[in-house]
């Protein structure tokens, strides 16, 4: 908890990128985005270095448009990575921090008001606002990730025999009163993938797509999906590719 407070800056805003002066809605995500902008610039770790040289796929330090083109293959790790995996990679390689420490507690628990990953995800995704979702599918690994993601989507398992497909393969259905996106279609995948990260009113924090992968798995009675893992990334590739160029709308506000 103390570490959380230490890393979240209070007070004056060194906002970089989109400043919502014409901000027109009640979305508290704006605070998370401001935090994220500050954290990007804050020197941290044994190396006392900021994340400014982090390569999110479009070159070192290029944040604008990067989220809309993730997940993608990275030469330096030989893996297809999503935003969160890439952030952890940069925290470790640039800042000298410990991966296990960061991934032990990446998302806010009940009563907590924001983590580093949540804030950074919000700000970085906002720098892709209105841009088409276009994760590259050029490299073999990227194509393989899509294929794997599709298989995972239809994978039935657990005590309740759920697959992602159980809730997300049809249009115009809902669970209780919550509308469900059909993730096999461009409309459904686009609306769903493009709307994360999102401020969840019931939780009081911004939730990322990585968190969503974890929480769906939890509700499917499966074990804990790890941040930036092969399965989490593959599922995100599946949705992002299905989105077929739909625009990013994040950060949005959801119940």
């Amino acid at each position: 908890m103390k570490k959380l407070i230490a890393t979240i800056l209070v007070g004056s805003v060194l906002s970089v990128g989109v400043i919502a002066d014409d901000w027109d809605d009640d979305n508290p995500a704006i605070f998370f985005s401001e935090d994220g902008a500050d954290m990007w610039l804050e020197p941290q770790g044994p190396n006392e270095v900021s994340l400014e040289e982090c390569d999110l796929g479009l070159g070192a330090g290029v944040v604008e448009g990067a989220y809309a083109q993730l997940p993608r293959y990275f030469e330096d790790t030989g893996k297809v990575m999503d935003l969160e995996a890439r952030l952890v990679h940069c925290m470790v390689t640039l800042q000298g921090r410990d991966a296990d420490e960061i991934t032990a507690h990446p998302y806010s628990l009940s009563g907590e008001t924001g983590t580093e990953i949540e804030a950074l995800s919000t700000w970085i995704a906002e720098q892709s606002l209105d841009m088409p979702i276009q994760p590259p599918q050029d490299h073999d690994a990227e194509k393989a990730a899509y294929t794997l993601g599709e298989k995972l989507f239809y994978y039935r398992a657990g005590t309740h025999d759920f697959g992602c497909s159980t809730c997300h393969r049809q249009s115009n259905t809902r669970i209780r009163l919550q509308e469900l996106a059909n993730l096999t279609t461009a409309d459904g995948a686009g609306a769903a993938y493009g709307s994360y990260p999102a401020y969840r009113v019931t939780q009081g924090v911004v939730r990322s797509m990585g968190w969503r992968m974890r929480d769906c798995a939890r509700q499917q009675r499966l074990p804990e999906m790890q941040l930036g893992s092969e399965a989490s990334v593959a599922l995100q590739v599946y949705m992002a590719v299905n989105a077929d160029g739909a625009p990013m709308t994040a950060p949005t506000m959801k119940r």
Partner: protein
């Protein structure tokens, strides 16, 4: 001749289900951690789950599909004392309870059926899902043995009726106890149940 036969067999098997390889299983095993009573064994698939993990939500080979369906039906465990109906008031709570078997749940609490996630039941409850058909007035069917057997086996293992059904196998998988299933039966079939008083 043997080589030809062998390759034909392999081709046949491969065409049955393009999705039937280990890649998803392996990826999940590498991507998940056991936590609070939910272990990696949850990732292992049984026959039905493996056969149904495809976009069509179907078992392509009709004979195989029928075999699995019959095997599901044969494994249905009827109530130990021959009494099918419990208490609809308890059934109402079970239907509304969405917890149980998630790693965020208290392992000491009873599991819920979470019926409202997918179904309409008591029409006064507006927060119902539409993944499954409405069960309002289910009790109109009466309580013949055929109705009792159908409803019980559907709750126990929905794939005994619809191959690859997405309805959880509440009895077969041990999600609900025999008593809980009886209480759900009552919620559905008792004329006094709010499901039927409309």
């Amino acid at each position: 001749m043997h080589k030809l036969l062998l390759s034909m067999v392999v081709l046949c098997l491969a065409s049955l289900n393009v999705f039937a390889d280990d890649s998803a299983y392996n990826a999940l095993m590498n991507s998940m951690k056991a936590i609070n009573g939910v272990g990696l064994d949850r990732i292992e698939q049984d026959e039905m789950q493996a056969a149904c993990s495809n976009p069509q939500s179907m078992i392509a080979d009709p004979e195989e599909s029928e075999r699995l369906r019959q095997s599901a039906m044969a494994a249905v465990k009827k109530p130990s004392d021959g009494v099918y109906l419990g208490d609809w008031k308890r059934g109402k709570e079970i239907a509304a309870n969405g917890k149980g078997l998630q790693y965020s749940d208290d392992q000491n609490d009873p599991n819920g059926g979470n019926c409202y996630a997918c179904h309409q039941l008591d029409p006064d409850e507006v927060a119902y899902g539409t993944l499954g058909p409405s069960l309002t007035n289910y009790g109109m069917r009466g309580q013949s043995q055929a109705v009792l057997d159908y409803t019980w086996s559907k709750l126990w293992n929905a794939t005994a009726w619809v191959p690859c059904s997405h309805m959880p196998r509440f009895g077969h998988n041990g999600v609900l106890t025999e008593q809980q299933l009886k209480d759900i039966m009552a919620l559905l079939l008792d004329p006094e149940s709010p499901v039927n008083k409309h």
